[in-house]
Amino acid sequence: MSDQLIFAIEVILNGLMAGVLYALVALGFVLIYKASGIFNYAQGVMALFAAMTLVGIMNGQVPFAHLINAIFGGHITHFGWNIPALLAIILTMGVMVLLAWAVQQFVMRHLVGQEPIILFMATIGLAYFLEGVADLMWGSEIKTLDVGLPQGLNVWIDDTTYGIFGYGFFIDNLDIVATVIAALLVAALVAFSQYTKQGRAMRAVADDHQAALSVGISLNFIWVLVWSVAGFVALVAGIMWGTKSGVQFSLSLIALKALPVLMLGGFTSIPGAIVGGLIIGVGEKLFEFAIGPMVGGATENWFAYVLALIFLVFRPQGLFGEKIIERV
């Protein structure tokens, strides 16, 4: 096999792994959009918020330490204890549920029945708000997150491929773990929405709000539930991205990367989010590999959007989206 082809295969594999991470973020969008028709721009910031909270809890940081110091003087920083990763993850999940409740109670409840675009704007406001709160709570410096996930070159794949092609593929252990976790997460979500009472209620709300209300499903509860599940997905995505590239502001920008994934897959489809993520991941890595050097590189910044744009012109509802029917 020629070198170029082997390189290309490696690029495709890495693209698939990156795509899984995009899909993880996109999943959170799809869940909320299906259940409440809200396009939640804050999903990326939720991932950032979750990751920062996790790091903060693990290191025993005092929340709002900077603010307290600024107002009252003093130099509080840490409680002086460290919390094991698993317990910290559970605590963070508690915070995300609380957040979901607060969002529903103070924001979304008051906006029921508004136009979708107003709801979208509200989530942009929420994104800014959360980002500010996260920075105030835990400080804005870059943090490292280590919950014990394996990282670095996977030696087994390197050795095996070296034996076959005479060239070792570089694949990060973390990406493999992320793929497995993403698969588990999707399976869990599907099982949850198919086989549990709350999951069925969630699907009912997604189908028809009024019909769901009329058979006695509490919309308020379901929306809190959906935001909590989205918060959980954000936490998982935050852990993955945070471990990969540190917990910092750019984490919230992956929300923007998830948008073309959604457009490709369709806003309403969970498989769509996965397939879209894989297509975008592979597409942008291959494009950067093949065309990037000719046009100055860094094409990953825009390739996904342009691909989605061109694709949408031919199929406006995305790959798996519900057919858009318009009536006057």
Partner: protein, 358 residues
């Protein structure tokens, strides 16, 4: 007491359909214009011009432009930063290629070039609607910023990758570069803002504005009653991008002077202008002014109160600003989805009856 129609008789159609039909309102408008053109240029200094007035004037132009697209035509765009960058780089290329031509011409041409780019990126709006379109305009945002970053021709092969505004004049008065007097840059922007507001106001209440609003309210119904969606959407994109291009050119040449594209015209700028439009009021020219003033003032006030008076570290003030802006947007959307412009309208109604409300 105020805003009373009593005794204010109209004897011609022209008088009846003017922008400010109530006498009090009209005089207020003349007074504002007189102060803006006649008094401020004589008392202005560099701090006021750079901290408040220039950003306000320039963002107001951008907000009017985006309001035409989002508020009047209903096409959500997140590509404002990219289009401002087109205006800035077009202006830069024109300034360096034709140094002797007046800046007025350059800025208007930059607006025209941006309009062409805007139409190009607006074409998909015929197929893509709603959120999908909002995300599609992100393609414009990221692609344009990347283009200006990576193709050296756009920044004249300068080593830093930045563009710097050379010294240019109009009617013999220097208005760009470090030696430009504050009053000249202020007046230059003010003239453009006044012209843009007048054009926008008259476009939006004419045939063109009505077709835009028909498309916004329900595009299929509009098509059935004979509105050409191609024409309506493309004109909205063109006019909107024209204004945004002008504001981008002014932002670069008069306000910043030196620009690094990713920093000055990134996605944050798109959101900032969008927030101005939402907080000010969708579908209102006055709202664009109010929103721009609000979001230009807010950081300055917070900085004065937080950092100067209370002595807090600047990073905390910056984070608080995020919280406050985000919170305000949510509060506004809950309390008054139509923004400051609607508050103003309500206040006016109250003032008409004051002090005898019954």
């Amino acid at each position: 007491m105020f805003y009373r129609e009593a005794g204010d008789f109209k004897t011609s159609y022209q008088a009846d359909s003017q922008t400010f039909p109530i006498k009090f309102d009209r005089y207020r408008y003349y007074v504002v214009l007189a102060i803006a053109f006649g008094i401020i240029p004589f008392v202005i200094n560099d701090y006021w011009a750079n901290a408040l007035l220039l950003p306000f004037l320039i963002y107001a132009i951008a907000a009017i432009g985006l309001n035409i697209l989002v508020g009047y035509c209903g096409q959500v765009s997140l590509g404002t930063g990219g289009f401002m960058a087109v205006g800035a780089y077009a202006c830069y290329k024109l300034m360096t290629a034709f140094p002797e031509v007046s800046m007025f011409i350059h800025v208007i041409l930059a607006g025209g070039i941006t309009a062409a780019v805007g139409v190009l990126f607006g074409l998909p709006s015929l197929r893509i609607k709603g959120f999908y379109l909002a995300v599609a305009t992100l393609a414009a945002q990221f692609f344009l910023v990347w283009l200006f970053n990576r193709v050296p021709w756009f920044y004249n092969y300068s080593a830093s990758g930045q563009i710097n505004a050379p010294e240019r004049d109009t009617f013999g008065i220097i208005i760009t570069g470090p030696n430009a007097p504050a009053w000249a840059t202020y007046l230059f922007c003010l003239i453009f803002l006044t012209a843009c507001a007048l054009i926008a106001r008259n476009l939006t209440r004419g045939t063109m504005g009505r077709t835009w609003m028909a498309i916004r309210d329900m595009d299929i119904a509009a098509e059935i009653i004979g509105v050409n969606p191609l024409k309506a959407k493309m004109t909205a994109f063109a006019v909107s991008s024209f204004f945004i291009g002008i504001s981008g050119a002014l932002f670069f040449a008069l306000y910043l002077g030196a620009v690094e594209v990713g920093e000055a015209f990134g996605i944050q700028k798109s959101f900032l202008v969008l927030f101005m439009v939402i907080i000010g009021g969708l579908g209102s020219i006055f709202g664009s002014f109010a929103g721009a003033a609000f979001l230009v003032l807010l950081p300055v006030v917070l900085k004065v109160v937080g950092a100067d008076m209370l002595g807090w570290p600047t990073d905390i003030v910056a984070h608080l600003q995020l919280v406050i802006v985000g919170g305000l947007i949510i509060v506004f959307l809950i309390m008054e989805p139509h923004g400051l412009a609607q508050l103003w309208r309500v206040a006016k109604e109250k003032l008409r009856l004051w002090p005898f409300p019954h």
